[in-house]
Symmetry: C2
Subunit: 480 residues, 2 copies
Amino acid sequence: MDAAEFRRRGKEMVDYVADYLENIEKRQVYPDVEPGYLRSLIPEEAPLEAESYEDVVKDIERVIMPGVTHWHSPYFYAYFPTAHSFPAMLADMLCGAIGCIGFSWAASPACTELETVMLDWLGKMLKLPEDFLAGTEGSGGGVIQGTASEATLIALLAARSKIVKLIQTDHPDRSETDIISKLVAYSSDQAHSSVERAGLIGGVRMKKIPTDSKFSVRGAALQKVLEEDRAAGLIPFFFCATLGTTPSCAFDCITELGPICNAEKIWMHIDAAYAGSAFICPEFRPLLNGIEFADSFNFNPHKWLLVNFDCSAMWVKKRSDIIGAFKIEPLYLKHDHQESGLVTDYRHWQIPLGRRFRSLKMWFVFRMYGLKGLQAYIRKHVGLAKEFESLVKADQRFEISADVVLGLVCFRLKGSNELNEILLKRINSARKIHLVPCQLAGKFVLRFAVCARTTESRHVREAWSHISHLASELLQELRH
Amino acid sequence: MDAAEFRRRGKEMVDYVADYLENIEKRQVYPDVEPGYLRSLIPEEAPLEAESYEDVVKDIERVIMPGVTHWHSPYFYAYFPTAHSFPAMLADMLCGAIGCIGFSWAASPACTELETVMLDWLGKMLKLPEDFLAGTEGSGGGVIQGTASEATLIALLAARSKIVKLIQTDHPDRSETDIISKLVAYSSDQAHSSVERAGLIGGVRMKKIPTDSKFSVRGAALQKVLEEDRAAGLIPFFFCATLGTTPSCAFDCITELGPICNAEKIWMHIDAAYAGSAFICPEFRPLLNGIEFADSFNFNPHKWLLVNFDCSAMWVKKRSDIIGAFKIEPLYLKHDHQESGLVTDYRHWQIPLGRRFRSLKMWFVFRMYGLKGLQAYIRKHVGLAKEFESLVKADQRFEISADVVLGLVCFRLKGSNELNEILLKRINSARKIHLVPCQLAGKFVLRFAVCARTTESRHVREAWSHISHLASELLQELRH
């Protein structure tokens, strides 16, 4: 395919994409396929000779679409949202065309510099403390990670490296492995599975701190475990606080936890993967109070800020902490400017070496929506969640299982877990909408997350009337 | 921006992309900007009100392009290539539109299933042993990682987890941290910096095995270190072999190393990040002989197989080894089919949780080029490297510093390192072409890597005549 054919095919693809998104409501949100469906639809081997573009394109509807879960359908209420917008898609086209690998400043200066400035822009939108911004002379700054899992891992590894160096300064004869064997990291018992995984990867003990009735970690709960662990000869070094947990969008009390972590020299990382986007609205910003105590902070614009996956924004107060944990400099990656102090080589900030020009997506989205447009988007979703909450509350058969703060509603039929498991199974089998469950204080709970950009009040009401109808059927059957 | 505007703007972007690529030769391959250039060109904060698309688009040439290193210019010969093709870009547009997050089978069955089958297709193109293919009943299989760095890390972590379990089976009282403190991993002294980094992250000792005069690790060299380490009470558990090292594209002797690793129960991972693409050609496939001894294998179609970044293909013989190292199952990620044995939940195979629909790029590229087209592409690049090699060889002032096997030529002026450092500085300062250096056996060497899809014989000859001219100038100055 040459540039001339790309012009033609690219424009056809733009139309296909626009058609897909304009008509996404008409597609069944969750597919009917059984595991292994796809293998039989395509050849067992790659073709020897080139095929035509027509042949490839017609297979999109035959092979791919029947197996797609349509995350951008207004009937998709599962997990948390993944962001999606036209400006982000346009920026991604440009990113693909430039196709640079921004592992160092020299490998494509624009790629590195736009990222640093976009993270400053976003940090300002969130009113992050000055320490987290790069500016022209700051010692902190931001970076785009692929996912929150990677941000948590990077923070844990940086904290591990820092505590080992600190202890070795006083006890030069203590080995790294000996120190690591005594380390202990903490998170909420509601924290995402990726936090536990970061501990596994980093080879350190990871303990879960019990949460209160609001599913929030409080200062006293952490303090208690810290005292026990110190008494047992362990070395607490890392606490991952969650703002907006995955099961119920609960918030750890960082105003209580932060001072404890600071006093105990424990690295506090804040994972606000989903909720973080909301902090651009003044009315939700208080949820981030306590951020001043954190060493690192992360959230995913690719969840709720209209920037397509992947774009996980992470800030640190001291870039030297994160860089120091990983820096290795082979000659083929050296360049003239790297000792200038002005330059960021983002490869030292992340697990992979290579990186795409992802800040273009942020730049396009921030400019084409403006802060006000982004705030309106967040508020609309929160409003839809509140609307769903009122519908649930008005039905005596149901109960709300956790405070509705942002775009997630946790609810269930009053009654047994089995009853709710059957209800969820019927909801998902009916294929009209798609939800996933969670467990809260031993209860099986349904999660209704407002996800798609195109979700409107009518969709939410329709979803509720569908759920309510299935519940009626189920309860009636059980009465017989 | 609504779908109607996206139709218009998307088509304009297609034209911009085609224009950029059709005229890329006219752009200076390496930018003139100084660190910090971009910050002053754009506002300090995101706009409050939405801006127009025109405003954004006109800033591409004003703000971005002056700071871009043009990796797809035929004058770019630095690092290794990063892949780029029109079919891959079209597939990425579709990937962005579907915008699903394929962390589990249920999250979008097509995303998972196409990936499994594409990795089988690619494995067959490489004539990988059957063990590495998923098929319908295999215990191995492939996965797309973001980068080779992540693949190496995943392999090391899986090996670490496996050896710990193995030792604990015989010695249930030995703690994980005690075992880890005795582990030792190995790689070539020519291995990529990411291998050393994987050891740092995994918290294990990493030793470099000295290479022979061809920059290749031989069996005897590994054997010697293993004996010393076993005698010292250490536990060898992981060897990362490199096929196609970054400095000189050297090949570790895996036919010698593999049997040793197998006999010693050491996980052998093969990193063929750059060279792997060439193994689809029968004439280069012998370089992969010995793969049958490996536990895991990885190369980057996003380097040299026309699939845009990121797409790093990794295969394992036993998927249970890799899954076992990371599996954590929260309720919100459970789904009906996951215990069926037919289903792959790729989140257990990788560091991040989320993942894009990257197999679409492979599917488009493999079909639109066909195996023959892909082979022709590899051969063309190797031919261009050979052509450059002959030009260097014909000039008595220069020497070739390592065997030219694929698309990389390592060369230098006969003489001091300082002389070659000055030559490289002049080449890069002239901005006509872009190269990076490496160090081989204490010598400062220039690397000429054939990178762009559009590089032709005339570009290579032009590059050589430019280098030769700068060398003449330099040598003449030094004579005076």
